[in-house]
Amino acid sequence: MKQGRKFPENRKVQQGGSNPFRRATFFILSSSSPSAVLTRIVSLLPPSLPPFPSRSPVARPAPQPPRLFTMHLYHFTALCSSTPVHLANGSFTLPRQQELVLARAGSLHLYRLHPKTSYLQPLFQTPVFCQIRSLSTFRLPGTRRDYLLLTTDAGAVTILSASAMAFRRVHCEPFGKSGARRTVPAEYAVCEPHGRAAMLAALEKGKLAYVLNRDPDENLTISSPLEAHKSALITHALTSLDVGFDNPVFAALERTYDATSYKVLAYYELDLGLNQVVRKRTARVAAGSNLLLTVPGGTDGPGGVLVCSPGIVAYRNLLDEDDEGRLIALMEDPPDGAQPENECKEPLVVAGTAYHDRKRNAFFFLLSTELGDLIKAELAWEPDRGATKLSLFYFDTLPGPALGMCIFRSGYLAAAIEGSDALLLRFKEVNVPEDNPAGGFSSSTGATLAGKLQFRPSALLCRLTVAEVIDSFGPILGMCKLDGGGVGQSSSLVCTTGKARGGCVRVIRRGMGVLEMSQPNELRAKVTEVFSCKENAESLYHRLIVVSFAKKTKVLEVGDAKLEETVNSGFELNERTLAAGQIGTNSFVQVTRSGVRFVRGGDAKSASEWIPPVPAVVLAGCCNQQQVVVVLSTGAIVNFEVDSKIDWAGSEADEIGAPVIAIPDVPPGRKRSKFFAAGDGVSVKVRIFQILEDGSIEALGLHLAPAPVESIALIDFACIDKEAIISSPFLALVIGTIHGALVRLTVDALTGTLSSKQSHFLGEKPVRVKHVKISGVPTCLLMGSSTWLLFLRGGRATMSPLSTDPMDRAAAFALEQSPDGFAVTYGSRLRLLSLESVSALITSACLPHGLSSTPRKVVRIPRIRKNVSLNAIDDCLPDSSMLDEIVEPRLHSLNGEDDPDLEGTNPYSSVRPSAFETLDTVKMDEADCILTVASFLDFGGDTTGTNRYLVVSVASNMQVSGTAPKLPKRPRSPLDERSSKREETFVLRVYQVDAATERLTFVHKTVVPEAVYCLTAFRDMLLVGIGATLRLYDLGKQQLLRKGEYKLAVRNKISALAISGGDRIFVGDVSDSVTLFKYEPSEPIAANHTRGAAIGRRGGHFVPLAADTVPRWIVTLEVLDYNTVSAGDKFGNIFVLRVPTELGILNGGLSITSASPVDRGRAAINIAPHKLVVEASYHVGSMTGSLVRGSLALQTTKLEKNAGDEALIYSTLSGTIGILAPLRTQHDIDFARALEREMRTRGKHVVDGDLCQAFTGLSPTGREECATALGRSVEDIDKKLEELQSSYV
């Protein structure tokens, strides 16, 4: 029986489901059984389905129309863009430090290089809330720190200096309109090498010069801008000249709009005396010139510039030059600039950097070509004759073309690489021998060409070694969601990142990365507690692990290679240990039921013991570096302190029945911790106690936990071992209950009162909390159904899950090789773990080996956990000859040897995400490129659930106009004739995924008239957008069978499809927004069709319902609920469109409003009778690659996710992953809106969460002012902000 055929009848299933967002999940194919899948589709249809967001799932009588709520969204960035856009080096925070500044989309990052350890330390980052268009550094004469000069799309030039903790704005001078405009001088910004002036230039016309100086108080001053505009002039590049201390001169590559114009190198002199800019001199350069590099001048070099053009690097110095420039060719063609036909074939120099050693007065240049080759340029010069010889050598090959590079004086190269991770590389050697085999050639003065250079890079990176990798995810082109396996698991995103050789499939999920340091140790009994001890108070690393069992104790010692059990440590081994630790200067303490054992100096023989008065026994204990507190069965609390002589000072106090107890670390510079906390196992009371000067104990605050207490921890976040960033104590009480709740409270450091309560539910299991120090930083491990780490971040206690197996007992365990390690047990297994980084909120795993071509799309093959990543190599190359010349050699060099299988093919491979093994690769023809892919379970009415299909849209000989300038017509050679005869063909290829071998079997192909850019499973058929035609296909024996069609469904080309509820189709046009169609089956399909009869099934037709009125360039669509769709456009907007209310009310009777059959398929203009309503819109700052619905938060219960716990997750081409979360209550909307207004406002119905988050970074007074304006307390706002995010990430 086919469940899918019950469509029309089965509408009333699960009316008013509590979670529409969930129900409408398009991710249906992932369900375990096929029938369940279809049932869920059916349940999408209830007419009274409340729309997204579901704010009031109140049961309503059926006939009433649904109330459509206004949608409000809260936008925040989950993973900041990691793709560098600009980079520069200098000494920003302190003199002589080697620091790197990286500008990424939306943030500015500062790193410090530690040359001895090859370590690039991230110092801090600042969100910029604008787009940095250009970045330059300068240093005022006589100073030793660099400033940063930025031009942004805010229309202002900003000068920043860096302090130890943050960037500081020195100047912000508006100069033009905001936005990225043609004539606003923000595209190029350069500073004079001696820091006396800066020039900004626009793409056209605008040029401004600023004079930088110091006032008598040594403050930086910036002059008002001096104009050097020249209309009808394009600026191709800008740099400054090194002219010593003469008037600053800037060099620009320019071309006017005249028909007869040619490209010139123009010198602009800024006359500091007259305060004016003069276009001093111009000279013609090669037509394709695209890059200028400053050559050191004054006394250090000949001055002038290197002019790079395709295939040619020329040295020019107009100040003392005859008309004939000194040229040198990079490749074999002569340096005749007037050859646009050949220009494409020449490698283009895309980035370059100069290194200048002032002490030794030597300099060289590194140039990166568009293929990723590095070329070293050396300029020989004589002080009286100027430059004499320019030599070029092949230097090395990077994984991709550089976006920017800079060289550190300690011998490191930082390179931002296109579509790949940014690299810090160490120079193994700098000098290239003149007669090196890789080739190189030079030109003496006057000579135009010295020889031929043919690069044959043998291996990747021969003169450089990778010192550090800075992750870069951009561009994220495809993304799909993988649901977590169950409780304690979070959903993850599978993304295709990077480009070309940097292409990669990564899994991104919530949580901090944890490394397993050793094989698990099986201890053969259930562990009741774990403790670790250092050798003495000074040592950084731990030596002993004390493992307690129900009736005995084991002590493990760090041996040469592994942990070894030791018996003569002085610990009592035949009893259960309640607490243990290193105490005093070099002693150990162990609390057992029979007493407190004290091992002086680690000497087993000198152990002494305190025994409680008979008949009392010890029930619980805790210790820190100076104190031990135990609870006796009589209810008495005994407090011990160890002074330098190690005498015991005990005192008895108040009686409570307290089986859990915790004491924080001793604050730095003090002798004891003032507080401890004790909880009552029977009732729910947790009390804070104060230890007075005389050793007596006083009860202070009391908290009633929501359930009986499992464990407690008291953490002083200010007790950082190395440095005291926060001087005042920040004491937090953490309570874990037996029912899985976690309560966090702040303890007042003076009075011990408890405040700022925050509760979390971690799952059903009891929550164990344990205070651990990771690299000397106090944190708290929270172990329940899932494991979390509580730590201080940005002055706020933050919880982040650890992506690791479950654990129930833990202790810090620092070793030399893993300073931030800990020892954990689960049941009887002991494991040693290490934290990858304390600050990372989201970690990613990636495919172990990169892909050889740009991965475009990733789709999930249903049922079996498996992903298919689609990588189409450079599919839209203008002609195949370019493919031969550029792509092939790259593949050779990448693999180190010839690999014929990879040449010019279009492979796509199946990848299993957990193990990341490639299951199968299908090779395409050289001329083919894959446009899109979709996968199915029940294609063609096959409900057995065993046949999974993959449909791939392939284009052959596709001609793409591209950005390259149109070449003038020329007589065709016979070769060209042949190539031009190859026609463009477009086919849909169907593959079957074999259940047993998990390989792809080709089934058949179907030729379609136009390119197919989107495919989607619709019911059990295939919905395709072919050009402007919407077509429905069924699986046939020989080819796909047409079952329905709507010609000219959109105006231009269908770019995206999204299915809502099984009968509605949102169709996105490439430039004309979204049209909603309804599918009407030709006749009700009988429910008892057998499988064989499926071939003869009737199709249906489409009826346009509603369209948008605004032209939007749709890239991706994702359905939110039956009436609502979200879309991303080409210009960085995400918006939500909703069916108008009247349609929402009509629901079942929609076909009444549809166009008559006569009109059907006529024209794409105004075909829909209704208009879609924009519900929310927001600019996310970069093109959205894909949208998925879901949540990255951990699943805490076995039930389905809490109602409405899904948000809209997007990925962008800049490598950002962000979230648009529904604001559920009016209270939340008001709060977020008000806070944003306090910070600043923008967007429709979307609140900028990143801006709201900036609240936490404000100064204390700023926070206070902001809170006062909102009528709330600062803590309240902090808490609320965290709540808004934590449900989704």
Partner: protein, 104 residues
């Protein structure tokens, strides 16, 4: 015409605007000029947004640097050379003479 008549004031203002703001139209703007101006604006916007360059780069299989270079080169004549008025006139005359010859 004296400069203080209101009309000349307006035209002077327009001229000023045209000089100051690139792309301000006037009654004599040809289709080619208008389209060229549009294209230049678009190219300038692409160049100013790194993700747009990235998008083209992925689509074309070329490096961002190459795309940037292509677009900048295209700024000069994004819509090709302007049609020459004489040529248009000549073509029209040819057409007319042809059609009249056909009629005969």
């Amino acid at each position: 015409m004296t400069s203080n008549t209101p009309q000349s004031g307006v035209s002077a203002q327009l001229e000023h605007l045209q000089a100051r703001y690139v792309g301000t139209g006037h009654p004599g703007t040809t289709q080619h000029e208008w389209a060229t101006n549009q294209h230049r604006d678009s190219i300038a916007s692409y160049l100013a947004h790194p993700w747009m360059l990235e998008y083209f780069s992925v689509a074309e299989g070329a490096s961002v640097g190459r795309i940037k270079h292509n677009l900048l080169e295209k700024m000069h004549r994004p819509c090709g050379e302007p049609p020459q008025r004489q040529n248009i006139l000549k073509r029209k005359i040819d057409e007319i003479s042809k059609s009249s010859a056909a009629q005969e």
